[in-house]
Structures are given as C-alpha cells and as structure tokens.
Subunit: 338 residues, 2 copies
DNA sequence: ATCAGTTGGTTAAGCGCTTAACCCAACTAA
DNA sequence: TTAGTTGGGTTAAGCGCTTAACCAACTGAT
C-alpha cells in the first residue's frame, strides 16, 4: 500500500504538503505542485490508511450498528437503509447482531468505542429493557459517543427514534372494530418490551373509545418469534367467541398460521387478523395480511439526520422523534354481523 | 478514554511495560507489578485504542463482509452466522450491502482495504459476474488481503465456498420426476449468474438421466427477485402441459404464487413446485414448499475456517469448497399419472 | 575479585497521518 | 532603503501502541 511518504518522495515535497493537498485544505502549495501530487496519488492508487487518520484526528468515519436479529425482515430493512445512507455520507458501518442479548449489546458498544466509532445506532434487543436501568445507563454512557436508539422508547437521557406504537395499535384495532369485531385477541410482546406496552395501550384505548370492555383473557404474551405465535395459536383459538387477532408483529401471526396449517384449521375463515411490521411475506400468503407499517424509511431518515447532526456539530442532543404509523389494508379482515 | 500512558503513570512504569503485561507477553515484569498494572487497567476501565493497535501491528481484528442484499433471508442468515462466528473469534465485522452493484462492491473492497481489514468475505452480487474478468480480478487483488468468495463459483485465482448447485438442481428435478412430472418448467437466474448456470446444468442432467427431452421453451429467465417471478408467472402457466416448476430460488416462486393469488388461479393445484434456499417463509405458506437447502451453516463454517487459516498462517491459500445440498421435502409436489 | 547470568525493567524508534508553528526568498509599497 | 506582505513550502510534535535493543543492579560460581 502506498503511503504519503512515498508520494512525498516522488514529488520532492514533505509529507505535510501531501497531506494538505490530498485533503484539499487551503495552503500555500502552488497549483502546479498540487496537480503533481494529486496525479502521483492517482498513479499509485493511493488511499489513506484510515487507522492512521483515526489516530491523529480522533474521528473514524465509522459508525456502529447493533440489531437484535438480522434475519428478522424488519431489522434487515432498517439495516439496509442505514448502511446505504451512511455509505452515501462517507461513513462505514461496523455491524453487530446482538442475538437479542443485552450482554452482547454491551460488549458490542464497548468494542465499538474501543474502535473509535464516531457514533452508534442501537436497535435495542428485548433483553435491553429487561436489564436494570443502571446497566442500561452504563451501556449508553460508555465512552460517551453520540448514540441514538432506534425502534424503542426509553427512559434514559438519550435520543431515540421510534414509531407511534400506540397510534399504530389504535388504528389496527379500530379497523377491526369497524368490521364489526368485538372479541379481539391481542398477541402482545413480553411484559417488559417497551414497544409492547405501547401497543397494548393503543389496543385498550381503541376498545375504550368504542365502549368495548377490555378482557385480559384475550391478551396473550409472545416474544416476537414465529414459534411463540405457533405456541399460542391453540390457546387463542380455543375461545369460539374470538373472531379476530391483533398481533404485535406479523411474525407471530405467521406462527399462528403455521400452527393452523399443521392442524388443518382454516385460519383465514376462522379469524380476521392484523399484524405489525408490514413483513413482505404478508403480501404473498394465501390471504394477504392487513398490517401496520412501521415506516422504516422515515425512521431511518430521522435517525441518520439526528446522528449526523450530532457528528457535525459535535454536540450531543437529546431528541425524541416519533414517526406516524400507516395501516396497510389488505384482505385478512372480514365483516362480522353482530 | 484512559490510555496506557495514564496507566503507566499511576503504576510508575513505562508504557512499554504496560503494553507487554496487558498483552500477556512474556517479559521480565515482576508478578507484583503485573498484578498492579492489570488492576489499574481494570479500575480505569481501560480498553485499547484499536486504531493505534492497527497502525502499529498492521492487523485490525476486523473483517469486511459484503452481501448483495441483506433483506434476502438467505443472505441475512449467512450474515448472522458470519458475524457471530467472527465475533466469537474476536473479530469485528465491517458490513456493506452492495445493493447488487459491482461498483458498490468494488468501492467497498477498496474502502475496507483502506481501513486495514484483515480479510474480506465477499458474497458476490449478480453484477459481479456480468463484469469484465479483468475488473473482477482487479477487485479481488486490491490490497491483496485474504479474501474468500461465498456462494459463488469463480474462474479467478481465489478461494471460494459454494454449495453444490448442480447436485441441488439434480436432486430437485429428480424428485419431480419421481412424482411423474415430465413437463417441468425451470426458472433460472440470468444467463451470466454463475450459480444459475450450474442449476440449469443439474436440471438438464436429471432430465437426461431420465430420458426426458430438454425443451428450451420451458426455461424462463428471472433475476432472483420476487417481482421477476411474478412477471414470469403468466408465461410459465400459459402452456397447459406444464405440470411442475423448479425455481432457482424460493423468492421467485413466491412471486409466481403472488401473481396467482392476484389472478385467482389455484397455483398449488395447477402445478407442483420446488424452490431453492429453504426460505423460512416456504414453511408457512398455504402449501409448504419443497426446497433445496443451501446449508448456510456448513457454508459459513467452511468460510470462516478458510479465512481464519489464512489469517493465522498469513498464507493465502486458494481452496474451493463445495457443500452438499439437502432437499427439504414438504408438500408442494403432487403425483402425476402419465 | 571477576564475570556470566538473571531480574526488572527502560529507551527509542516507528506505524501513517495531521496540524500548528516556523522559515526564507522574492516582491511590494512608502 | 526598509518594513511588511505574500508565496511556497518545511519542521516537528503528537495521536496510542508495539517491539527490539539496551541497561543497571544483583546473585552465585569460580
């Protein structure tokens, strides 16, 4: 790999001169020399050693990205958008799949700080919210880099971008009610997942606004995995009065559908369904799924803007951005006569 | 962030002493001093500045990973396995989604080399194989880092890990034939995708071994996207003699299914289907999809082993590893009477 | 008494790049 | 004539860490 030293030698100048011209800083280097240096750099196919730049400037043009599970399509979509937008701004992405483990998230943040990332985007795992506040706080403050949480609310003094889970669940529930449903099962995320609580709240609010009594027996707790949905399916369907299911994500609904297939129940006739996430596969299943879209592009845009603002101004702002949900109406809801 | 200098001052030793003990090198530092230094490091929550380590040792414990599209579940699975296995070995992952662009792959490699990654895992895009050999070669040789291609054959002098596409397509085709199918449509990948050619070859070989004439009118060209499958669907289904479809990936088959839903054709009765990839959603659709599993875990294991061998020995080996396919038999094939 | 070997470290150079401070010759302007 | 400016760079220190070479004091054997 060619270095500035090499270029300097060929151009008969000091490496300082090379540095300033290759970085396009205003300096007293003559036009001719500038051109010569740039030409030599091009000829040698020079590219800076980023470790050296990082060491001396204390910025790395790298950001860390931590997601709970990249095989979850929603997180994959976020990841793709983030990587591409950061790349367009000249930033590289140090990627970690935390496998839904708080310990892994913590290690990842430490390692990223150690590597001198300029900032961190953390899509918190479920475990994140199960940890002690003190530990969460320690994680956030490690190396006090700019950090923004994505897809989560939090009580910590840190920026986050989330989407309006209350409103999302409200919209979805209202839609079911509009079709005449009153016995609506709700598959929530585990008690301590923050987004899960908000979604439950939206569900309850919609019931209340429609004067439908909330019934806790209709609330089932999953963990956002397909398997947890499959496991809950028989319990949910046990009550013949239940005519609809609202799920805190599509994946659990797919689990319900899978269980139904395996047990020969015609699930699409049996219940109406609405999910969360706008999973691409919701569109191609037997009956396309009505779902709440989390507007990943908007979320990522806000996240990148926020992070970039911190990086360029050098100030650590604490902002909370909430993007509005959008109900994608497809065919998994049918009318009920009361 | 505390530095070795800080530790050295507190322990009344030189930073060189700190360096050797924190790196557990054998040295002439007394047990007592060693313990003291380590304790201070722990108290200060010291973590090395990786940029400095990289600069001086010329290794970064970072590897670059480039995939064509992280929202494709197969690539997501590979990515997850890679990141976790590398993490377990102390390596971090610099991630790039090339968005199926050769230019992006090329830039990514350059950038990674510039950042001093120790090695690169490239899951080549489709465009990769459409580029000139000279350009592909240039990409591979950039900065001559250890590099292994994953999920591809190649004519270049570089290691790769792939799975046996010929055998995979052969198995799938033979399965269809076993069920009595003789008019089997094949959705291939674009002509220049190397894996696509091998899959076609396996399909043809199976036909030949069963004395079924190859008919080029039954071969359709997609680009591995869901949309391309949807676009091809009407053409494929036009010929009433066609009783089965083998697709070079599940996604295109999902596209066919989607088109069928939208056009009210009962696709699962109309044709038998086999895909490639063992996409998780193949299991939860109306009729679970028979598919060829690419054994991502085995592929990743081989890839990591290969790369780690190069990293530890420092030698650039050129090995070609082919993992055996596995046919996942589900319900999307039905018997045909001839 | 001398010397080799051991113990317990230190020194210094270097990795590639950045940046503030400096230098000198030639040219203006009063 | 001289002070001041401008053009065209150079020097040197420093970012945090690594590593080979060195050194001083002590111990034990001859």
């Amino acid at each position: 790999m060619p270095t500035m030293k090499e270029i300097a030698k060929r151009a008969n100048v000091s490496v300082a001169a090379v540095s300033v011209v290759l970085n396009n800083k205003k300096s007293r280097i003559s036009k001719a020399k500038k051109a010569e240096i740039k030409q030599i750099a091009k000829d040698l196919n020079y590219h800076p050693n980023i470790a050296a730049v990082t060491l001396s400037k204390n910025i790395s043009l790298t950001i860390g990205l931590i997601v709970p599970d990249i095989t979850n399509p929603f997180f994959a979509t976020l990841t793709r958008l983030i990587e591409q937008q950061l790349g367009a701004q000249g930033y590289s992405t140090l990627f970690v799949d935390s496998n839904n483990s708080f310990a892994a998230e913590s290690d990842a943040v430490q390692n990223m700080v150690s590597r001198g990332v300029d900032g961190i985007i953390l899509v918190p795992s479920n475990e994140f919210f199960l940890s002690k506040k003190k530990e969460r706080k320690a994680l956030i403050e490690k190396g006090d880099k700019p950090i923004v949480l994505l897809n989560a609310y939090t009580d910590l003094k840190v920026s986050y971008v989330n989407f309006d889970n209350v409103q999302g669940a409200y919209l979805a529930t209202q839609e079911l009610i509009n079709y005449g449903h009153t016995h609506i099962a709700f598959i929530r995320g585990k008690a301590n997942f923050v987004n899960a609580a908000e979604r439950l709240a939206g569900y309850r609010q919609a019931l209340k606004d429609n004067r439908i009594a909330f019934n806790n027996d209709l609330v089932f707790e999953g963990d956002y995995t397909l398997d947890s949905g499959a496991k809950l399916a028989p319990k949910i369907l046990e009550d013949p009065a239940t005519t609809a299911i609202l799920s805190a994500n599509d994946l659990m609904l797919f689990g319900v559908i899978k269980w139904a297939k395996q047990n020969f129940v015609d699930i699409f006739s049996r219940v109406s369904m609405v999910g969360f996430d706008n999973d691409p596969y919701g569109e191609i299943i037997e009956v396309p799924l009505t779902t709440v879209d989390q507007q990943p592009l908007e979320m990522v845009n806000e996240t990148i803007d926020l992070l970039l603002e911190m990086l360029t101004t050098g100030e650590k702002v604490v902002q909370h951005l909430i993007v509005k949900p959008k109900l994608i109406k497809r065919s998994s809801i049918h009318k009920i006569e009361n």
